[in-house]
Amino acid sequence: MKQKIRIGCGAGFSGDRLEPALILTEKGNLDYLVLECLAERTIALAQKRKQIDPATGYDVLLERRITGLLPLLLQKKTRLITNMGAANPLAGAEKILEIAKRLGVQVKVAVVVGDDVFDRISGEELTLEGNLPLNSYGKLISASAYLGADAILPALQTDSQIILTGRVADPSLFIAPMIHELAWKIDDYELLGQGTMIGHLMECAGQLTGGYFADPVTKPVPDMHILGHPLVDIQRDGMAMFSKIAGTGGLISQQTAKEQLLYEVLDPRNYLTPDVVADFSYAQLQELGPSLIQATGGSGKAKPDTLKVSVGYQAGWIGEGEISYAGAHALERAQLAGETIQKRIGDQFREFRVDLIGQNSLHGEPLSKNQAPYEVRLRIAGKSDQKELAQLVGEEVEALYTNGPAGGGGARKYFQEVVGVVSILMDRNLIPSRVQIFES
């Protein structure tokens, strides 16, 4: 049992940079590095890949991250906890062993198995979002439960250097090593609430260190091009100090911490996770020095009896096309182009949208300034169950080159398959988990 541990967050979402994780591991003297790489639809998309090729389904960047980090992690004796397993953590572990062999090192990986509950879904369950049965949304393709710290603990109790999971609650990735190393009790909800607050502050990586915070006019942040990711020192009593590696860019302040603390929190007094119902409303965030913040005051009460399950379903296709206009009457020409396309194909789509980027595409007409922009970009988007129809949107926009208003330039077209995600609750007793070990 330790008196304190140090955890770094090397990725806050699936597309995050690798470099901050390398710097954290090399210079941070971390006990643990966490890479949080799953968004809502990441697993549903990964599940689709796995259906086509059963050897895939883990995070597409797993290979790049592990190749870059593994030798450092082993050298520094830093354990890695990550949800890069996505829809296929078992295959992900095989891939890690393959990479280790290539790099000439030995590694042990503990995989947390059990978040995939697709075989337990009847389709009649009612969603949290709309109170409608799952089957009414479309063809279901995946269902993964948000597992908690209790599923990760058995993996930590082995001597594996890497703990690889599928879907787990983000704060649980952080709270599990706290419980394991600091001998916290799994039902000490006050402490787990504090731990969850720490995890929530850390889980988006750069968002705590000035990333997605900077506003050069009111909230300047230095050296964003070398933004460092955060690390946290946690003591047995739950007191936490957040900092970053010297020489990296960014800053940690009361302001950055507050914005991250309430990020995506529906009710700050009742923040539900698989481990606890946390209360962030009494958080104390103290600046103790440059980019050095102390956080206390998180608390909580008993965890819920149910786990949230994310269900992915097939939701058709979205097609888009864009084209730009500038100079005299740019707005009028863009509007004419939009009307033309609307008249030609608009009623073939379940949903159809005409935006003027630079004028109203983000916040609508009421908030747009009523002065004509110098340049404006028309964006058309349509949703359809048919791929060909979705593709038509971009094709029609491109056809404006010879059939549309004068001066249109920079046309682009896109289309993509849509995977919808909704959630249900499931009795946690129906969701057992286990650990499987992979060794070099």
């Binding site: 507050k258 991250q260 529906l266 700050p268 916040h363 609508g364 995600v421």
Partner: protein, 107 residues
């Protein structure tokens, strides 16, 4: 005198399904009371009426000196299936900062 929130406050937008979560903090702590007084759920609903189709609930957090607005039915059919350019509504943090409030204090 009228002041734009962007000059006295900051905040971030987040999403959970079809619900938009907007936080609001004063840039200087002494303006917290002013925000509580002036930035009501009703005003937020009105400012963002174009976007918000459901209830707006305000959570006031005196210990943190911050305010949280949860806005239901705000993100089309949900971020994963929305046609909007900004499906997650992330840029809406700055839509909120467009609000103008009455500030009786001198500049």
């Amino acid at each position: 005198m009228k002041r734009k929130l962007a000059n006295i406050a900051h905040g971030r937008a987040g999403d959970k399904g079809n619900t938009l979560v907007l936080s609001l903090f004063p840039l200087r702590e002494e303006n917290y009371g002013l925000l509580v007084k002036e930035v009501t759920a009703e005003k937020v609903r009105e400012l963002l009426a174009h976007q918000l189709k459901g209830e707006v609930t305000r959570h006031v957090l005196p210990e943190l000196k911050g305010i949280l607005f949860t806005c239901e039915n705000a993100l089309s059919s949900g971020v994963t299936t929305s046609l909007a350019l900004d499906a997650h509504g992330k840029s809406l943090s700055y839509a909120l900062l467009e609000m103008e409030i009455e500030d009786k204090l001198p500049e």
